[in-house]
Chain length 463, copies 2
Amino acid sequence: MLRSLIFFVAISVSSLIAAQPSEKPGDPGTTRSVILIIGDGFDDQHVTMGRNFLAGHDGRLVIDTLPVRAAVQVQTVGKDTDWVYVADSANTATTLATGITTQMGRVGTSPTDEDLVTIAQRAHAAGFKTGIVSTSSVTDATPASFMSHVSSRGCENPAIILGGELYSVDYEGCPQDAMVNGGPGSIAEQIMNAPIDVVLGGGLKHFTTGDPASGNTPLMMAEGQKITVVTDPAMLTGADANERLIGLFAEGHLPVRLQGSDGRVAEQPDTSTLNKLDWRLGSVTQPDPISCEPNPAYGDTPPLARLTEVALNRLTHNNDKGLFLMVESASIDKESHVRNPCGSLGEIAQLEEVVSVALDYAEAHPQTLIIVTSDHAQAAQIIPEPSLYAEIPVPVYSPGHVARLNMPDGSLMTINYATNGFVSEEHTGANVPLFANGMGDGLLPAFLRQREVHDAMATFLGL
Amino acid sequence: MLRSLIFFVAISVSSLIAAQPSEKPGDPGTTRSVILIIGDGFDDQHVTMGRNFLAGHDGRLVIDTLPVRAAVQVQTVGKDTDWVYVADSANTATTLATGITTQMGRVGTSPTDEDLVTIAQRAHAAGFKTGIVSTSSVTDATPASFMSHVSSRGCENPAIILGGELYSVDYEGCPQDAMVNGGPGSIAEQIMNAPIDVVLGGGLKHFTTGDPASGNTPLMMAEGQKITVVTDPAMLTGADANERLIGLFAEGHLPVRLQGSDGRVAEQPDTSTLNKLDWRLGSVTQPDPISCEPNPAYGDTPPLARLTEVALNRLTHNNDKGLFLMVESASIDKESHVRNPCGSLGEIAQLEEVVSVALDYAEAHPQTLIIVTSDHAQAAQIIPEPSLYAEIPVPVYSPGHVARLNMPDGSLMTINYATNGFVSEEHTGANVPLFANGMGDGLLPAFLRQREVHDAMATFLGL
């Protein structure tokens, strides 16, 4: 097993860094920083779930104390029609990272497969320090879209980029992007070359997977470059401050903090035989309540707030220009896909802790714009406990999966997942919330499109 | 049939008007007005459905042009626990109207059944003109909560207040509120006595239903009072400007503007026999797309924007103090309950028109605070078309009801309703959006509780 592998070399500045139109803020000479915090799938249902659970029904989340709030329209280019109305994390992160609206599955590429320069790459070229931190594999769609350019999000390593089988289905990969075909390589290979000073999260397996022909892995690319790669959180503090830092703390995504008691997730209500024959008859038994408890698999996984602190400390060292840092709490979405509200709630708590870290940083570095937003809406819905129609003498219940959560005050909050009957729920199409600190006042209007979030960050940094 | 019944008498000032703590705005001598526009069930999924359909995926609604946007936490007092996490229109409208958090079903009453003074009643006592306009029966929960006080929203007329059968279930009514028992009467009776200058909407049947003992109807109470009652929209302009005006343009709720082609609403996907035996096998046929078209039943129903104009004109006449006007687009919610997205979309269009009327008014009367908000979230969700998992060789479909809407640009927007399998969907628990014009800047923070929306309006009016 890899533990604190260390390699050294000069950072190669991506050839992708190209001139784009820029608008300078009022005082371009001032040190300026942007911390973009993405809650994946963190729509208003999830925000409210989090508030109810973490702060109480009359409480406030840290994000609720931020002075600027807006709604962001999520836009996705269709393949057969101009638009589709529900997005994925690849096209939305690409839009946040580049200001360009694109198709689902695309990472840092346009609908016609052009490689798009990301705000992190442009920030680096302009002299800012840059960081990407996530609870997912750093090769997953959201972090990848700030650091790499492939036609399909599945192309995470040098093997799968050539195609094969993914999630038990034939996968075409992104052969035109493969290094063997003269492309920039898989997401993991591009991360090794990306002008990002700090990359922290999961995904080690994609860096140790070799090209099928040569056997060369992305990690091997570190040789001869000034890159410190760590896989042990304890090594984070000792890493050479003058090198790029890549920290990979799980083979895949980082484990989540919370789970349902006995590992339970949302379940289908149990109906009587009579009810199965006629929906107006018989009876229904709702699933027993679930309590949220620590996930044993979480172990000594570094908290996202800790990774954020490490990134901020490193990026601030010897820096008179400023920084661009993207931090993602990725598994709010992933746990909603698998109908595990406790999983999502623990990751909302992680996001909240990151916002606190960012606010502390902004207090010490006042020219810091903090934006918290989501990439797309998700399936979970808070539904009544009991049903609004509980007094009607007919069994009334969700046709999907429900989790009845024990709340700290003894009440029950019921979460419904019913976008499909498959093993993974669908995303949904609502506009998503955006929260910002005072630096966003006057910069971020009350309503904007996702591409305009990118534009506002670029304007703030003078890019 | 009643057509433009006219009665005359002095308006009785409700004995409910009592002193409450007040905070004066900066310049209490200025004429000030509040227009509160409630979209019932108008959560972020519905806002986005409306934007996509009415303005296009890259368009903006009128509400999107408002400079102030906030999120509002919806709070509901439980019966067995401190809180429940999903509300109805009665408790939420009561909170908006009174600043007090209460239980579901309650209209203008506290959890311990005290009658709560509403902002409309307080505004009247302070010399403001007042109006309530809705596309629902004016006795329905939202408008009723600004004008009346009963323990249960079903107590709309002098018969049902004594109990009986409602929606095919035994209903206890609100006997303690009945006039025969010394109470203030049913909602319709209280509206006849309420200090509201203009009341426009539906609900005629509740005003022509008599007390079972005496046969006296609410409409009879107009005799001897200065009240003009009209049931023909053409009579709206000729009504005496010095009297209260009550306009009732339907027996129940006003018909909605749009319907699905062939009257279709969301339907269950049709699955093969094999799929019914094993969810991984067989096939699924999604419902055919639906186009939205005019609802023939709408006929010459007065548009909500027209009713709003009439109310504003009357309330502005001979008024050097200002006004409080609540306008509700009620059937966004009602149509979502019955899984009719075209119905909801037409009523979102009505809300948009009302916002335009209000903005025109505010241009001529700058000290006008316009707030647009929702009372609670609703069941509808925009889901992917096709499924995110369309390439997986397993039939993936909603377990609930879906409507695939033909959009103006030729694309499809699919709406999912899957909170239950009953004839009426559940509300959901997400925080709701709030939009305001510039008068709300500095008055309305980015996050607030529903009671604080009331408080901000009261502060603005100096109540």
